[in-house]
């Protein structure tokens, strides 16, 4: 190991997510209560969500999108505040579709 192998060029997060198929349901299967988020100091969902669906806003709130969700549940499990994230499965036939995993 004299010279370190140059890392593969990392794809952008957008390109990464574009490798996954999502059949987006009209109705969101995640809802959040922004009041909880404004008081939250950890905002653990922001970094832990593998699809990076949670984006903190400058006023301390939280933006999120449900469209590219892996339906894994990490967000509500790491959330400090019970009831801040309400999470169910999307409508049948919708949501993430994995083919090569």
């Amino acid at each position: 190991m004299t010279g370190r192998e140059p890392a593969l060029p990392e794809i952008s997060f957008e390109d990464r997510m574009s490798t996954v198929e999502f059949r987006v349901a009209e109705k969101a299967h995640i809802t959040i209560d922004g009041d909880h988020c404004r008081g939250c100091t950890t905002k653990a969902c922001v970094t832990a969500c593998p699809a990076s669906l949670f984006v903190p806003t400058s006023d301390g709130g939280m933006l999120f999108n449900y469209e590219q969700c892996f339906e894994c549940g990490t967000c509500y499990m790491v959330c400090d505040s019970e009831g801040a994230i309400t999470w169910t499965y999307p409508e049948g036939g919708h949501g993430v579709i994995m083919r090569k995993s």
Partner: protein, 444 residues
């Protein structure tokens, strides 16, 4: 619901058994119950079985011997794992124990890499061939109960989507909304959950054969410790036919505390000097992630209640014991036990908790609960700071010094080397002894 028979009377059951989730547990349950002559509905929320499912990539299917004879001629697999490596790594070092055997490349085989979209679909179709009714694109929204509070069906998101049955078998995965709704989990905690995230990377089949020293349908499984940036967990690399699955499994709570992103951790594994050369030029063709119930035996829910059984990930039946990383086989074993119990209970006309007691008895007499009970301490040991961080560093440093020829300095004795390395990494003899005893108790 065109594919579901019309109801005869308002409160007559539509089916004998409703199985929720067409993953390995659900399909094994549906297959076994249908073969026993029951009317079985297998509900799947994805458009096809396997569409919602991801895993690292290796399945150990010997549990199918009794269900699907010669399963190896029919199961859609990618490669047979004939080479298995365990890597202890630091950011700049890696010690790999590599084992290969021809025995695992012929019947009855051992482990196989397989894609869940193919594996789960195949298993579900085996259940359909046995007479089960598979209904896809249908999400179960809640349990239904009779006047006495006993579970007797499910509500779905289809119009007029209530389905009644004598028994519900919940195989709805790690989030296990049904087991939670039934009150079977009194201790569900994120502490017991890990996040698996992986990339499927495309490489030509001949390249995979050449890079990993493989031929024909032979495959490689590499498990790694010390590659997750100090967050408890591990890394993996599995060879498919013309793709490689590379990923990480980490504690969700520790991931959150470390404020690291899952794809960053994957990038760290890919850039490791012991991994990067294998993946040169490989392109990501699918990124995926899912949570895993890795807490083991002590974190399982109650498995039985009046009118319902729980199996697979929904019952926390994943075994993450460091050297053994298994889940699909436990789901298959538990699913089959649930299906057999359904046949027995329906024949006796008793699907109360008492009538379903055969489920636990079957799990106890097979491998599902004995393996989990035996390895109940393993998750804690495997995710401990010493196993995760101190030991890989210690072992790599020890081996490095053993093999470094630093003439004209004479070779140090091994005992002296071990003592010095141990001290340098703050591992006391007492720690080693204690972990040794725990290891013996856990794995012995």
């Amino acid at each position: 619901m065109a594919d579901v028979p019309a109801r005869v009377a308002a409160d007559a059951p539509d089916f004998d058994v409703i199985v929720v989730g067409a993953g390995p547990a659900g399909s094994a349950a549906a297959l076994t119950a249908a073969r026993g002559g029951l009317r079985v509905c297998l509900l799947e929320r994805g458009p096809y079985p396997g569409s919602k499912n991801m895993y690292g990539g290796v399945v150990y299917p010997r549990v199918l011997d009794g269900l699907i004879p010669q399963w190896w001629d029919r199961m859609p697999i990618q490669r047979w794992v004939t080479r298995r490596s365990t890597m202890l790594a630091t950011p700049t070092q890696a010690l790999t124990i590599d084992y290969r055997t021809e025995a695992w490349g012929k019947p009855p085989y051992n482990g196989a890499t397989a894609l869940r979209s193919e594996l789960d679909e195949w298993l579900a179709q085996e259940a359909v061939a046995a007479g089960a009714t598979l209904v896809t694109s249908t999400t179960v929204t809640s349990l239904l109960r009779d006047a006495n509070g006993r579970i007797n069906g499910v509500d779905t998101d289809r119009p007029d989507g209530q389905l009644r049955a004598s028994l519900v078998i919940a195989c709805d995965g790690v989030n296990s909304f049904l087991a939670k709704q039934a009150g079977l989990y009194d201790n569900f905690s994120a502490e017991n959950i890990t996040l698996g995230a992986k990339e499927v990377l495309a490489l030509p089949r001949e390249e995979i054969d050449a890079r990993f020293g493989l031929s024909g349908r032979d495959g490689l499984d590499i498990e790694m410790v010390g590659v997750t940036g100090g967050i408890p967990g591990g890394g993996f690399l599995y060879t498919n036919l013309d793709t490689v699955a590379l990923g990480i499994v980490v504690s969700v709570t520790e991931l959150a505390k470390a404020k690291r992103r899952p794809e960053e951790l994957i990038a760290g594994v890919k850039a490791h000097p012991a991994v990067a050369p294998y993946l040169r030029g490989a392109q990501v063709v699918e990124y995926s992630a899912h949570t895993i119930p890795e807490g083991g035996y002590d974190t399982m829910p109650a498995l039985v209640t009046d009118g319902m059984l729980v199996a697979g990930d929904a019952a926390a039946m994943c075994l993450a014991a460091g050297i053994w990383l298994e889940g699909v086989n436990f789901a298959l074993g538990a699913g089959a036990a649930a299906g057999e119990t359904a046949v027995e209970a329906l024949a006796a006309g008793d699907t109360t908790k008492r009538g379903l007691a055969g489920y636990r008895r079957r799990l106890e007499s097979g491998f599902v609960l004995p393996d989990h009970r035996k390895l109940r301490r393993a998750p804690h040991l495997v995710l401990s700071d010493r196993v995760q961080n101190a030991y890989p560093t210690l072992v790599c440093d020890l081996v490095e010094q053993m093999f470094t020829v630093s003439n004209p300095t004479p070779k140090p004795g091994l005992r002296k080397l071990l003592r010095a390395t141990r001290k340098a990494h703050g591992v006391g003899l007492r720690d080693l002894a204690r972990d040794g005893v725990t290891g013996m108790r856990t794995f012995g």
